[in-house]
């Protein structure tokens, strides 16, 4: 069991190793909820991304690695273009109009991204 834990720890550490901009650069003190139709959906690693037509502007919503999303039921079909999503998360302090989702709700179901 210990070995499994060590392996899991290694996986967790390795996960976001090459995120294209820092996981540190999101403002957790200013959470936002972006709701609207999904305009584009990229179900790709290292993390899936959506563009969402929010009430104020078009947001880029950064999700999670695709294997984790799949494990939690957020398949490629669930986050497809045209569906309405509500994403709760933190705005980027670096990239304009980008946010990292803590959880998303689609068709009445909530999926955790962390």
């Amino acid at each position: 069991m210990k070995r499994v834990h060590v392996l899991l720890a290694a996986l967790l550490l390795a996960g976001p190793a090459v995120a294209h901009h820092g996981w540190g650069s999101y403002d957790a003190a200013r959470p936002v909820t972006v709701s609207g139709p999904i305009l584009t959906s990229k179900y790709e690693n290292p993390h899936a991304t959506l563009t969402v037509k929010g009430s104020d502007k078009e947001w880029t919503v950064t999700l999670a690695p695709t294997s984790r999303m799949g494990n939690r039921g957020a398949s490629v079909a669930v986050v497809s273009v045209g569906k309405t999503v509500s994403a709760y998360g933190y705005p980027s302090t670096v990239e304009k109009d980008e946010m990292r989702a803590e959880r998303i709700t689609i068709d009445g179901k909530t999926y955790e991204m962390r």
Binding site: A17, P46, P65
Partner: protein, 163 residues
């Protein structure tokens, strides 16, 4: 950021290989895991090698220790390059512009230069020394520089995601 990257890296990221890495549910994860495992093997081999050069384990035969550790270090380095290339290709246009990644590349070049100079000019003098014989100062220097450089490379590698 995307448009400021040299075209070759934009093309690499957009290539079929780049797409396949991003769209596969497991390739990126496997490369990430493989990178860490290779890093552990590399760090272990380099630690043995560099510490011997720096004066530790003086009762061992330097030629034997260097020979064994060198083989593991080369294999592990190949593993690091291979898995690192996969991770890089997936996000080439972003990563190449990352200052910490650029620093990491420069440090890797420095580490390889250090090894090359050591292998050509110092290793032949060390190879046949008996256990407990004092090593030439250049060997100690090479070992200490090597440890410092590779630790700095590891720090940069882990820090790419935060800059």
């Amino acid at each position: 950021m995307l448009d400021s990257a040299p075209g070759i890296f934009v093309a690499l990221e957009g290539s079929g290989i780049g797409q396949a890495i991003r769209q596969s549910p497991w390739i990126y994860m496997a490369a990430n895991v493989g990178h860490i495992v290779s890093l552990m093997a590399f760090a272990g081999a380099v630690a043995v090698l560099d510490l011997r050069l720096a004066g530790a384990f003086a009762a061992t035969s330097p030629g034997r220790v260097l020979g064994g550790a060198r083989r593991v270090a080369i294999l592990a380095f190949l593993g690091l390059v291979l898995t690192g290339a996969v991770l890089f290709t997936a996000e080439a246009s972003h990563v190449i512009m990352n200052a910490v990644f650029q620093l990491k590349l420069a440090l890797i070049a420095l580490g390889l230069l250090n090894i090359t100079l050591f292998e050509f000019f110092v290793a032949p003098q060390v190879k046949n020394l008996p256990p407990l014989a004092p090593l030439p100062p250049a060997a100690r220097r090479a070992g200490i520089v090597s440890i410092g450089v590779w630790i700095a490379v590891a720090i940069c590698g882990r820090s790419i995601a935060y800059f």
